[in-house]
């Protein structure tokens, strides 16, 4: 028995048998075909109907370009139904959401992991406890809080601040960053301390430069989650001129011609798909996107 470290379920011996080989190739091929048809198929269909005239899509939904290609749809969607406005709204919210999540996770994680105040354990417990409160409980009280902020009485409804600031309260981010900081080599931190490094310099010149992997993970998930979010921006941004794509598209669907609508849908998922392809390693490494969202 060879000690093949990289072996999977099937052994090299089994894979060598002719009948087994054919069966295995067939099964893997079928799974690949299934994934292409089911996962990629709808996106390809969307891309096709985004540049196909409405009548063709309605009459021959499964044909490839029965009467030609109409690139004009993309421009109509971007300009005439004002998709560009909602696109940039989404970009602003995603950027704000990224910034606040980074700030909170990095400073909080640093304080809890490196500075370790005496009340740190209690505080960390309070942060982790919020993971066990389902998001549904927060929807209405969060809305009323944002409507009339404690102490200041600011009304953040219909502001981007109201849309992205609550995203910073992510216990998952804090846990991820804290655990990463916990595993940084303590000798480096101690050496910096001996050299007279204060809390701020230690943070900026020692800890942050060593933390690029975890910052990358927090960043990609923050941006994607903001782009996908629906219910919170729906509640907090009643003003159509401020709404992101997710919230605006369903309203547009009722009053827009089909081909232009398909172009709008394609534009709306182009950025997340490009983002995914560029950072696929971070997404596919697994174990980080553990929470199944409803």
């Amino acid at each position: 028995m060879s000690a093949d470290e990289s072996r999977g379920i099937t052994s090299e011996y089994e894979r060598g048998r002719p009948l087994f080989k054919i069966g295995r190739t067939l099964l893997n091929g079928l799974v690949l075909l299934f994934l292409v048809l089911v996962c990629l198929g709808p996106i390809l269909w969307l891309a096709k109907s985004a540049i196909t005239p409405t009548q063709d899509t309605l009459r021959y939904p499964l044909e490839l370009w029965p009467n030609g290609v109409d690139w004009e749809n993309l421009r109509t969607a971007w300009v005439d139904i004002d998709l560009k406005l909602y696109f940039w709204n989404t970009v602003i919210i995603a950027f704000g959401s990224w910034a606040v999540q980074m700030l909170v996770a990095v400073t909080g994680g640093y304080a809890l992991s490196v500075l370790q105040p005496r009340y740190g354990r209690v505080l960390y417990g309070l942060v982790l406890a919020t993971m066990f409160v389902p998001a549904v409980v927060l929807l209405v009280p969060l809305y009323l809080t944002v409507l009339d902020m404690p102490f200041t009485h600011w009304n953040l409804v219909n502001t981007y601040w109201g849309a992205f600031l609550p995203a910073g309260a992510s216990a998952f981010n804090i846990a991820l960053v804290k655990r990463f900081f916990d595993n940084l080599p303590r000798e480096v931190i101690q050496a910096a301390r001996v050299d007279g490094c204060g809390d701020f310099r230690l943070f900026w010149y020692v800890v942050l430069p060593m933390s690029r992997p975890v910052l990358g993970v927090v960043s990609v998930f923050a941006v994607l989650a903001a782009w996908k979010d629906f219910i919170w921006p729906l509640v907090v941004l009643p003003d159509p001129a401020k709404q992101p794509l997710s919230v605006r598209l369903p309203r547009l669907a009722g009053v827009t011609e089909l081909d232009v609508m398909m172009a709008a849908l394609l534009i709306s998922c182009a950025l997340p798909i490009a983002f995914f392809l560029v950072f696929q390693r971070l997404f596919l490494r697994g174990g980080l996107d553990g929470a199944v969202k409803g």
Partner: protein
């Protein structure tokens, strides 16, 4: 004296670093959690001062004839999501873990639907679900002599249609979790199973699946918690219809608070969401008690 001073300065800078977390969690997490408990026993209408009403909100929710419908529909959604959605990622992951060539391509394809914004996916699928014989899915079914199916227009078909789309949107995430867990199966266990004469299915049954047991128990409860809070699909596909057949608990919460013609009934909305949260907490507690024996 000087050590006292540095300690004071040290704790001051600690506070500076903690400030963003304290502010954001305080304002947008801790305070709203406390407030949901307070609001559930208050009458809040944003015009007059909130008024203590005891358990009236809970009583009003429990007396709402739509509650039973919403609870039943949510359970039905969760059950269907388990039947359709639980085995699919598991089977895919087990097969994919043994792929030798272009393994990355398989994961890439499987995860692709997860990055599509859910609102975009639902609007696209709403078109696929066109009930006419010329609709996309009905055309495909028509080619093999089936259908046409009244996908979203028939109360019996509406919920399964929603679940199929939701499964499509979420399965890839679970596949990746299983794949990550399968990397750590000790190769000797497969070798040992082979010595005992196990075939491929035997190895899957006696080695692969037991290795995944712990993570499978977690994905199961997470999926139930997630599906119990389903909102986007019923809201965008059918808005609870036809004939309230897809009205879920969270949709009812949303209607109490934001679609009330007489002004938002925030008390009733928080009372219902609290009841759902407590039910989910109890469920998880019982679940982990019952499964502790099997989890490792």
């Amino acid at each position: 004296m000087s050590s006292l001073l540095t300690r004071a300065r040290g704790s001051a800078s600690t506070l500076v670093f903690l400030l963003p977390m304290l502010l954001v969690f305080g304002l947008f997490s801790w305070w709203p959690i406390v407030r949901s408990v307070i609001m559930s026993v208050q009458q809040t209408n944003l015009v007059t001062d909130p008024e203590f009403v005891g358990l009236d909100n809970f009583r009003a929710v429990l007396e709402d004839p739509l509650l039973a419908t919403a609870v039943q529909n949510t359970l039905w959604f969760a059950l269907l999501a388990l039947v359709f959605g639980y085995p699919v990622p598991l089977i895919l992951a087990v097969i994919m873990s043994d792929v030798r060539r272009a393994k990355g391509l398989y994961s890439l394809l499987a995860y692709l639907p997860v990055v599509i914004p859910p609102a975009v996916a639902v609007l696209l699928w709403r078109f696929f679900y066109d009930a006419e014989p010329t609709g996309v899915f009905n055309s495909i079914l028509g080619k093999v002599g089936l259908g046409p199916v009244p996908w979203l227009e028939d109360p019996a078909w509406a919920m399964p249609s929603l679940v199929i789309e939701a499964t499509w949107a979420a399965a890839g995430g679970t596949v990746i979790i299983y794949l990550a867990a399968l990397v750590s199966v000790p190769p000797e266990q497969y070798d040992a199973a082979e010595v005992d004469g196990a075939g491929v299915l035997g190895k899957v049954w006696h080695v692969t699946l037991p290795h995944l047991r712990g993570i499978m128990l977690i994905t199961l409860i997470l999926q139930i918690i997630g599906t119990a809070q389903v909102f986007l699909e019923p809201y965008l596909f059918t808005d609870g219809g036809p004939n309230n057949s897809t009205l879920t608990v969270l949709l009812l919460v949303y209607r109490y608070a934001f679609q009330n013609t007489t002004g938002g009934d925030y008390g009733k909305a928080t009372a219902l969401s609290l009841m759902l949260a407590v039910a989910l907490a109890l469920l998880s507690l019982v679940y982990f008690r019952l499964t502790r024996r099997w989890s490792e």
